[in-house]
């Protein structure tokens, strides 16, 4: 079965540094997402992306976050000036459909971000 690939699996950074988390969605999928899971807490929606623009974002996704599809395969999440509270597992996901009505999200294995 095709899968969503995320790199790196673990990322350690110093507070205030910029990080870029990378994802390769499933090739024929059109919708891309980022979710995060702070240790011991719920998985939370960050942003969805379609046709090279953000289609929806949560309150968490503030100006320190940005997403990009720099080429035909990669989908990135950039966090500028990381904070301690950004430490979490970040999941990338993709789906074929416009809405979650008839589709499921395919999730990657996640990138564990640790901000020191």
């Amino acid at each position: 079965e095709p899968e969503v690939t995320q790199t790196p699996s673990h990322q350690v950074t110093q507070m205030g540094q910029e990080v870029i988390l990378r994802c390769v969605p499933i090739s024929n999928h059109l919708y891309f997402y980022w979710y995060r899971q702070i240790l011991g807490q719920k998985v939370e929606f960050l942003v969805s992306f379609y046709n090279n623009e953000i289609s929806e974002k949560s309150e968490i996704f503030d100006d320190q976050f940005s997403v990009e599809r720099p080429d035909g395969s990669n989908f990135t999440l950039k966090i500028r000036s990381t904070k301690l509270e950004d430490s979490a597992m970040y999941f990338c996901a993709s789906s074929e459909a416009l809405r979650l009505t008839n589709e499921k999200l395919f999730f990657g294995s996640g990138t564990q971000l640790s901000v020191l």
């Binding site: 919708y31 997402y33 979710y35 807490q41 719920k42 998985v43 939370e44 929606f45 969805s48 289609s55 929806e56 949560s58 597992m89 999941f91 996901a93 416009l98 809405r99 979650l100 009505t101 499921k104 999200l105 395919f106 999730f107 990657g108 294995s109 996640g110 564990q112």
Partner: protein
């Protein structure tokens, strides 16, 4: 706003026992979609099942079954004859028709003891 509650945190069962996970949701939308995802120790989120709000028929798929009760806003999930490989965190999630995001519950840690 959409909200999902999974009250139980950790559930331990002996192999071959059945385990039922409770999920209660809140939404103002009349059309919505409910999901169960599994997160094994390796960390990825694996899709298990999806139900539409307009289809209350309960189904069985292998060792998995679910009980969707719209009247009580519940979407419970049962693993029959549990196996050690079922040990994972199970998340219930909700998506409303007007948005494209999943709202997850806190998850149930299932431990199957051999």
């Amino acid at each position: 706003a959409q909200k999902v509650t999974q009250a139980q945190t950790e559930i331990s069962v002996v192999e071959k026992e059945d385990v039922t996970l409770d999920c209660v949701y809140e939404t103002r939308d009349t059309t919505y979609y409910l999901f169960w995802y599994k997160q094994p120790p390796s960390g990825e989120l694996v899709f298990l099942i999806r139900r539409n709000s307009f289809d209350e028929q309960n189904e069985i798929s292998g060792r998995y079954s679910w009980n969707f009760q719209k009247s009580t806003s519940s979407f419970n999930f049962t693993i029959t004859a549990s196996q050690v490989v079922d040990s994972a965190v199970y998340f219930c999630a909700l998506s409303e028709s007007m948005n494209n995001r999943l709202a997850f519950g806190k998850g149930n840690q299932v431990v199957v003891i051999p």
